[in-house]
Symmetry: C2
Subunit: 344 residues, 2 copies
DNA sequence: TTTATTTGCTTAAACGTTTACTTAAACTGT
DNA sequence: ACAGTTTAAGTAAACGTTTAAGCAAATAAA
């Protein structure tokens, strides 16, 4: 058990032990044709015996590639993103890559800062959901022009020509709204958050389309934009809106708005679904045990993350994938529960 | 705008442009005493102008340190871990470090594999929660002996002499149990998951202590061990237990067991809190809007992550921190809601 | 004035790999 | 037997930093 001293064992060590050159070690470990079968075996054996693990930084420096990707997302305490990471990780691990994680907290400045750092060659590729207040996309363009492939998921940047994995925001909002209309709602509010022009535009579009189909005139005041964090002020803000507009249906477009909406309704003594019916975009398993159980738009978070990673790694592996041609939409699912139960 | 060609600009480029040596560039950028003030400014200016970003791999190779840490956790789709990552990230970002994320999925084999990789010098330190089925800790010992500092949070490994950030599992389980006893429960089940001897031992200990104080004899059959994933089989398994034991109180020790427990009770037509009162260890904000609102043991996830990161970075920065002496316990909080409302 | 010291910079080696190029020996076919 | 090819190695440069050591000129101390 004493064969492996804590002194770093590197190729030089192995070369010395085996009395061959460093090049032989390197080639043997990468299974090069240059090296004889017997030598290869000897190298592999002693490498294992001495617990040799290659230095990734030397390798990355020389090869100009790092076997590392970056995951850049706005936040992590959200079931959509954590499930998406699970999907990403399922590929990253399998491909023996490493994943750096960066949280922008929806700040453009941090995002730009991160991209600046990444232009160093730190990563071979990027998987990202853009920050809500990113308007200027120069940082993304520059990284892409520097040759780092980028794949967007969920919160994509339409103006960058690369792969985008989205869910059908327009359609799922349309379905959700139609569902409320079918259940008799006539005055539906759309509760969104600041930022995310594309996604929110799509959801608002689907919402409006459904209204139009039911000959309901859309009112600007029925669309309310909260701040993107769960707190007391948000609840108060929403309460005010509900008290004023008295909607009979609410579509909450992000996860934490479910709690905000339920608490606001409770404080206003408005019963769900009798006084107001609620649908929320969320992936939380607790939706089923809420009071009442919440009708949700369930997004394919895991699959989106996985698909995004598959495209990126396919590209990195040199497969003939034209990232800019990949524009994939995975369907969300409306899961109907009691928060939109028919009442009358 | 044409000053920065996409050709990688490195120290050599800067040296050529400014007609000084590479060493001067390096030292100027690191604000060395060796370099004159005027030269420093010129270097910094042109570096900015040409969008120079240092190559992290060259730097890491030479300095034998990577400005990177590893976060190793069992899973990520769990509010405790995602909040803990938020806490960690708050320090990582501020210290200009980078964080690699690894998910063990509670598998010892993957964990050991990851540690093996990390012995390459890939990271300067590790923040981790150990996998549930990790019994053999040789991989952890070896990395530590190789000089990589490790800080545990939540799911610690008691046999490794290093910093451990825990929450008071014993006491919070004790409080939760006592709370149920005060509310009149006489037959309390503890629902746990497989693995995690230390944490579960502590929680079971607290549970037993409370029972003892109330002169209730502990029954082995009241402790049930589910599998650590949310699915239908788990619900069925728990239903069976509840049907057999007919507990009037349940303590669910991990987040996803809340949903499992609620659904099991619902299927058995057992009313919470009338027929059975429920407490769960969870950090989800939806606890407040469940049916009924769930009494929770709220763990200081963010603070635990943050504290763990603080210790690690303090150590890395050379502060006089003796990691092996740090054994910190942050209190959890019992948040009482309707799932344990007094009835009778 | 002479000797130390400081200032500001350069030289060159090192970190641990990978790889283009070279080389010597062994095999091939004629 | 000999030119040509294949096989199995080795040599050395390169990746982009950091840093110990050196050195000339300027400054300070005696």
């Amino acid at each position: 058990m004493a064969e492996a001293k804590s002194n770093k064992v590197n190729m030089k060590t192995l070369a010395k032990v085996l009395n061959v050159s460093i090049a032989t070690i390197s080639k043997a470990l990468r299974d090069s044709h240059d090296i004889g079968e017997e030598t290869k075996q000897r190298v592999i054996e002693t490498a294992k015996l001495l617990h040799y693990v290659p230095n990734p930084y030397a390798s990355s420096l020389r090869k100009r590639s790092s076997n590392t990707i970056a995951i850049i997302i706005p936040e992590i305490a959200d079931s959509f993103f954590s499930q998406a990471i699970n999907g990403i990780e399922s590929i990253v691990g399998q491909e023996k890559y490493h994943a750096l994680i960066y949280l922008t907290h929806d700040s453009y400045e941090r995002e730009a800062q991160m991209f600046n750092d990444l232009s160093s060659g730190r990563v071979d590729g990027v998987l990202m959901s853009v920050a809500s207040n990113t308007k200027d996309i120069k940082h993304i363009q520059e990284l892409q022009q520097a040759g780092v492939p980028i794949v967007f998921f969920d919160r994509v940047c339409e103006d960058i020509p690369t792969a985008k994995i989205k869910t059908d925001d327009f359609n799922s909002a349309y379905m959700a709204t139609k569902h409320l209309l079918e259940r008799g709602c006539k005055n539906i509010s759309l509760v969104t958050i600041e930022g995310y022009p594309f996604i929110l535009q799509a959801r608002e579009g689907g919402y409006k389309k459904a209204l139009a189909e039911y000959q309901i005139k859309h009112q600007e005041q029925n669309v309310i934009s909260c701040s993107n964090k769960y707190n007391q002020e948000n609840i108060a803000f929403l309460k005010e809106h509900i008290a004023k507009i008295k909607p009979d249906g609410i579509i909450a477009t992000v996860e934490h708005l479910a709690t905000t909406t339920y608490l606001a309704c409770e404080e206003l003594k408005m019963n769900i679904p009798n006084d107001v019916k609620v649908v929320c975009f969320t992936n939380q398993i607790t939706a089923a045990i809420l009071n009442p159980p919440l009708t949700t738009v369930l997004q394919p978070a895991y699959d989106m993350g996985r698909k995004a990673a598959e495209l990126l790694f396919g590209h990195l592996a040199g497969k003939p994938i034209q990232l800019e041609k990949e524009n994939i939409t995975l369907p969300s699912k409306l899961v109907v529960r009691d928060s939109t139960r028919a009442t009358d």
